[in-house]
Amino acid sequence: MRHKEIEILIQKSLDHETNGEEERTLQLHLSRCPACRQLYRELMQTEQALTGLIEFYPRQDFDDRVLRKLGLARSLVWAKAAVVLAGAWFGSVLFLLFSPLTEEFFGRVLTSVPALARSIGKIQFAISTFNHVLIPFAKNFNYAFPIIALVFTVLLLYLFSKTMKKEVVCRA
């Protein structure tokens, strides 16, 4: 049998379309012809590799976007972000109010970086002005607390956004 005819049989075999006699003819030829045997083996290896192709995925929010487009899912992202922000800020304020760490410690931390100290100075001025309205109602309140709570909140929000970041498997 010619190599061209064997090649057709090989393709047919890979398509699982050979009958018993054709398969026997093919296997007999392959046992005697190294070149055709090599072709058959390499085509089989190619096939195996093709069946092992990995699966890729779109971004994490894909499902939500599809369903939102269809009007099936409410957008919960901002609601979640608002809850986290409010919870983080409130938690931070509570922590600071009942924290065993001293004001001096916080003061040192906040003023350790000159640029940060300057920014805080400006914010302190703004809040101290606002404080004059609050003083009759909050005599024990320290105006540094909201600033520190805000710093904690921004940090927590940043970490939160990292977890919400689109996770991509096999990204471009």
């Binding site: 390499e42 085509l43 093709l50 069946t51 192709l53 890729f56 894909f62 487009k69 471009a172």
Partner: protein
Amino acid sequence: MENEADLISGALAGEEEAYRGLLNLYKGRVFSFVYRIVRNYDDAEDITFGTFVRCFKALSSFDPTKSFSTWLFSIAHNLTVDFLRKKKQEYELLDERLPGGDDLVQEYEKNEQLGRIEGALLKLAPIDREIVIFFYREEKSYKEIGEILNIPVTTIKTRLHRARKKLRDLVREKG
């Protein structure tokens, strides 16, 4: 895992969880298929997004006696071809000028053999890539592939045979 027919019924009844179930079953498969054809992540995501939106909007017209995956992939195929034509990319020939695809090969850093086959696959014309993916990855029959691509079974066989040989030659070159 829920039965596909149940998910389709649930989706037709408007159940969000049923839609999510169908997305879980198919988004990876459809996205992988489209990604390997258009070779760009963002474009592949847009096309996959369009595929599912179109599919779900037309779900009431789906014939339950037919294969859902074949129908879904038909939509994906049509949108992919439209995209390639808009970008003036050849569908039946390989346009060597096309960028992209390096990331697909890079993902296989740990497995050289798979990386070689992925790289070789990129060198096929889009239509041949589709046939190879449907035959080997999606395990579609020639008849189903013919339905998706709207081309005769004999053409599919011929192209698949040529693609196999070409892939083998390309992998051999790199090997």
